[in-house]
C-alpha cells in the first residue's frame, strides 16, 4: 500500500540511512543570503546570524545507489518555509546549496526525483568512528569536515519531524517536503561540540569567513536506521 502524500505531493521514496549526522553552524546572514535564490529568506537565528546546515548521510546499498554503501553530503542554509503547503509545521527548511555523493546511480536518481543540485564526486570518502559518534569526510582535494559529539554524552531517543527544502539546480526553484524519523541524540551545547570545517571547494568561501560556531548537533543512534521519506517536488510558486 502506498504511503500518504504530504503537502499535496505524492510519496516518492523511503530512504534507509545507517548513519546520519546533521550539524548547524552560525554564519553571517549577509553572505548566507547572497548564496540563496532571490526568493528565499534565511532564518536569522540571532541578529546577524543565519544557520548553515551540514549533513553527512551514509546509505546502505539498497537505496538506489548500486552494489556498495555510499555517502551523501549536503550543504544548506536554513530558510523560512512555505506554509501554504498543507502539512505539519516544518521544523527545518533547507535552502539547498549543494549535494555531493560518490554513487553515480544515486546522483542520477535523486537529481530527477527531488529536483536538487546533486553532483557526482567519486573521490568522496568518509570515515565514521567505531563508536559512530563522529565522522570525517574528504576527497581528492583534501579534508572537507570533521564532525562529532566531542565530550558530550549522547542521549538517544525516538524522534520524528517534518521539513521542507528548496533547491534551484537550474532556472526553476523547486520545493518539496520531507519527513525524518529514527533515534537520535541532539544538543545545543556548541562549546563542547567537536567540529572542523576545512577550506574546500564544497563550501562557499564567503560563509567560511564567519564565526562558524556550531549551533546544534543531531546524530543518529549507532546500529539504528534513520528513515527519511521524500515526496514529489514541484516548482515553487513564489
Amino acid at each position: 500500500m502506498s504511503e500518504p502524500s504530504l503537502g499535496g505531493l505524492a510519496f516518492a521514496d523511503l530512504w534507509n540511512i545507517d548513519f546520519h549526522c546533521a550539524f548547524l553552524f552560525e554564519v553571517p546572514v549577509g553572505p548566507a543570503e547572497a548564496l540563496l535564490p532571490e526568493d528565499l529568506e534565511a532564518v536569522e537565528a540571532a541578529p546577524g546570524l543565519a544557520l548553515m546546515s551540514l549533513i553527512h548521510a551514509h546509505y546502505t546499498p539498497e537505496n538506489r545507489g548500486g552494489p556498495e554503501p555510499f555517502d551523501e553530503i549536503v550543504c544548506s542554509i536554513l530558510v523560512h518555509p512555505d506554509l501554504s503547503l498543507d502539512m505539519p509545521t516544518p521544523r527545518l527548511t533547507l535552502g539547498v546549496l549543494d549535494v555531493w555523493s560518490n554513487s553515480q546511480a544515486f546522483v542520477e536518481y535523486k537529481t530527477g526525483a527531488l529536483g536538487m543540485p546533486v553532483h557526482y564526486h567519486p573521490s568522496l570518502r568518509s570515515e565514521i568512528a567505531e563508536d559512530r559518534l563522529s565522522t570525517k569526510v574528504w576527497d581528492h582535494d583534501g579534508p572537507i569536515f570533521e564532525m562529532g559529539l566531542g565530550k558530550i554524552e549522547p542521549n538517544f531517543h525516538e524522534e520524528s519531524f517534518y521539513g521542507q527544502y528548496f533547491a534551484q539546480p537550474e532556472q526553476d526553484l523547486n520545493q518539496g517536503p520531507w519527513r525524518w524519523s529514527g533515534r537520535l541524540t541532539e544538543h545545543q551545547r556548541p562549546r563542547e561540540a567537536s567540529s572542523t570545517l576545512h577550506s574546500h571547494p564544497f563550501f562557499p568561501e564567503s560563509v567560511l569567513r564567519g564565526s562558524l560556531r556550531c549551533n546544534m548537533q543531531q546524530l543518529s543512534e549507532p546500529g539504528a536506521t534513520v528513515n527519511m521519506r521524500t515526496y514529489a517536488y514541484q516548482v515553487a510558486d513564489i
Binding site: 526568493d39 528565499l40 529568506e41 523560512h80 510558486d237 513564489i238
Partner: protein, 430 residues
C-alpha cells in the same frame, strides 16, 4: 520681527541639524545643548514645558525657565476630555488599589491581569466586529513597530502613504521588507504600485495608511485605499490613532465613516488620544491577534501596560460608547468647525478637516518666537516645522477638544490672529 532687533543665530537652526556626526567625537550633544541654552538665555524656550495639573482645556504650565503660565490647552490629544473624567479616575484608582503600580512582567508571561482581558473584550465589543480580537500594547508607537515587523519579512512588500507616521515607517524598516511609497492619499498611484508588485511574484503585501493624518489634520482616503488593496489581495493596516472614538457615527474611526471597517485587516489605535491614557492596540482576526501577542517583539519583551491605566482606558471606552460619547463626538467636531470659522479670514488653514486645526506660518525661523509669543499670550499649541514637514511649510497644530468652551475657542482664535499680525503670516496683511 522688528528690523532693529539683532538677529538671533538660533533661529536658523532646525532639529535635524543636530542628528549626529559620523566621526568619533560627539559634538552633536554639545551643539544641540548650546542651541537650547541660547534660546533659554533669551527666555524664549517654549518646549519641554510641564503641566501643573491634568490635561484640561485650561492649564497651568511651567516652562524650563521656571516661569508659570496659564494657557488655553490646545496641545494635548485628550479630544473627548476622558483623561480627567471622574469615572475614569475612579476606575484607575480602584485598579491601583487592587493590582498595585505596575504589571511587573511581560503580558505573555505573568504580566496579564483581568483588567487587560476586560479591555480587550471592551475594545472588540466597541468595534462591533465579529471574529476579531485585540492585542494590547504598552505604547501606541509600539503597536505599529511591533505589528508590522511581526507580520512582514524581507521578501515582502510594504506600501506606505508618504505622510504615514514615523512609527509605521520604523516598523516597516524593522521588518526589512521592500518599501514602496505612494503620494499622500493617491489611490491611482497606489494601484500602479500594487499592479507592479503583483506582476512579478506572489508575495505578501501590506498597505499602510491612517484615519486622520496628524501633521495636516486631513482624513485618509480609506475607502479608495482599502478597496485598491483588496483588489490586489494586499493586507491593510490603518492607524486610527487620531480618529478612534471621534470619527464615524459610533466613534469607530474613519474606516467606519468610509464604510470599510470590516475590510481593514489591522486596525490600530492608541489610548493616548481620545481615551486620554497611554498605550495602544491592534484589532485583527483572532488568529492574527494571538500571533501578534507573541511575535511582536516590543510587546513580548516589554512589561504589560500598567493596570491602573488599563482600567481607566476601559472606563473611557465605555463612556465613549455611551450617550456621553455621542455628545462629546458631536461637540468636538462642532468646536473644530467654530475655530476654523473664527480663523478662516485671517490665516491659512491648510487642508485640515478634522479636530486637528492647522495654521500655516511658513518659515522655520518663526517657530520659536511664535510659540513663545502664543504661550505668553495664553495659548499652548503644537508646532511642526522641517524636517517633520517640508521646508517653508511650518504650521501650528491646534488640538481641539469637546471640552473647550466657546469663550476659550474665541480667545485662542484672537491670540493666533494677533500673533499672525505681529509675526507676519496673517493672510489679511499679505
Amino acid at each position: 520681527m522688528s528690523e532693529e532687533t539683532p538677529r538671533k543665530e538660533y533661529l536658523d537652526a532646525t532639529y535635524d541639524m543636530f542628528l549626529g556626526s559620523i566621526m568619533g567625537e560627539k559634538s552633536e550633544y554639545d551643539r544641540f545643548l548650546e542651541w537650547v541654552h541660547d534660546v533659554e538665555d533669551d527666555d524664549a524656550f517654549p518646549f519641554e514645558t510641564c503641566r501643573v495639573g491634568a490635561q484640561r482645556p485650561q492649564v497651568s504650565m511651567r516652562r524650563t525657565s521656571g516661569e508659570l503660565l496659564d494657557v488655553i490647552n490646545m496641545s494635548s490629544y485628550n479630544y473627548l476630555g476622558f483623561g480627567y473624567h471622574p469615572d475614569v479616575i475612579e476606575a484607575a484608582k480602584e485598579a491601583l488599589d487592587l493590582y498595585g503600580l505596575g504589571a511587573a512582567s511581560s503580558p505573555v508571561h505573568s504580566g496579564g491581569f483581568e483588567v487587560h482581558r476586560k479591555l480587550e473584550r471592551t475594545l472588540v465589543d466597541f468595534m462591533g466586529l465579529d471574529g476579531r480580537s485585540a492585542s494590547v500594547f504598552s505604547s501606541g508607537y509600539g503597536v505599529n513597530t511591533g505589528v508590522i515587523s511581526a507580520l512582514m519579512r524581507r521578501r515582502h512588500h510594504i506600501v506606505l502613504d508618504r505622510a504615514a507616521h514615523m512609527s509605521i515607517l520604523e516598523g516597516a524598516q524593522l521588518a526589512g521588507s521592500k518599501l514602496h511609497y505612494f503620494e499622500h492619499n493617491d489611490v491611482d498611484q497606489l494601484r500602479e504600485i500594487l499592479k507592479e508588485i503583483q506582476s512579478k511574484k506572489k508575495r505578501r503585501v501590506l498597505v499602510c495608511t491612517e484615519g486622520v493624518f496628524s501633521a495636516d489634520g486631513d482624513f485618509g482616503n480609506l475607502r479608495g485605499i482599502v478597496e485598491a488593496a483588496k483588489e490586489y489581495d494586499a493586507m491593510t493596516l490603518v492607524d486610527e490613532a487620531h480618529s478612534f472614538l471621534v470619527a464615524g457615527e459610533n466613534g469607530r474611526g474613519v474606516a467606519e465613516a468610509h464604510g470599510v471597517l470590516e475590510d481593514v485587516d489591522l486596525y490600530v489605535t492608541t489610548f493616548s488620544k481620545a481615551l486620554g491614557g497611554v498605550g495602544g492596540a491592534v484589532i485583527a482576526s483572532e488568529e492574527m491577534a494571538r500571533y501578534i501577542n507573541w511575535y511582536a517583539k516590543c510587546r513580548m519583551f516589554s512589561c504589560a501596560i500598567d493596570p491602573a491605566v488599563t482600567a481607566g482606558v476601559t472606563k473611557a471606552l465605555e463612556l465613549g460608547g455611551s450617550s456621553i460619547g455621542d455628545e462629546r463626538r458631536k461637540r468636538v467636531k462642532s468646536n473644530a468647525m467654530k475655530l476654523r470659522e473664527m480663523l478662516a479670514s485671517d490665516v491659512d488653514l491648510g487642508v485640515s478637516e478634522s479636530w486637528i486645526v492647522t495654521v500655516n506660518y511658513g518659515d522655520e525661523e518663526r517657530t520659536i518666537p511664535l510659540l513663545d509669543a502664543l504661550q505668553r499670550k495664553g495659548l499652548d499649541a503644537s508646532v511642526l516645522q522641517f524636517p517633520a514637514v517640508p521646508v517653508g511649510e511650518s504650521r501650528i497644530r491646534l488640538f481641539v477638544t469637546s471640552e473647550h468652551t466657546d469663550d476659550q475657542l474665541r480667545k485662542a482664535a484672537d491670540i493666533i490672529i494677533a500673533a499672525a499680525n505681529e509675526i507676519g503670516f496673517s493672510t489679511r496683511s499679505s
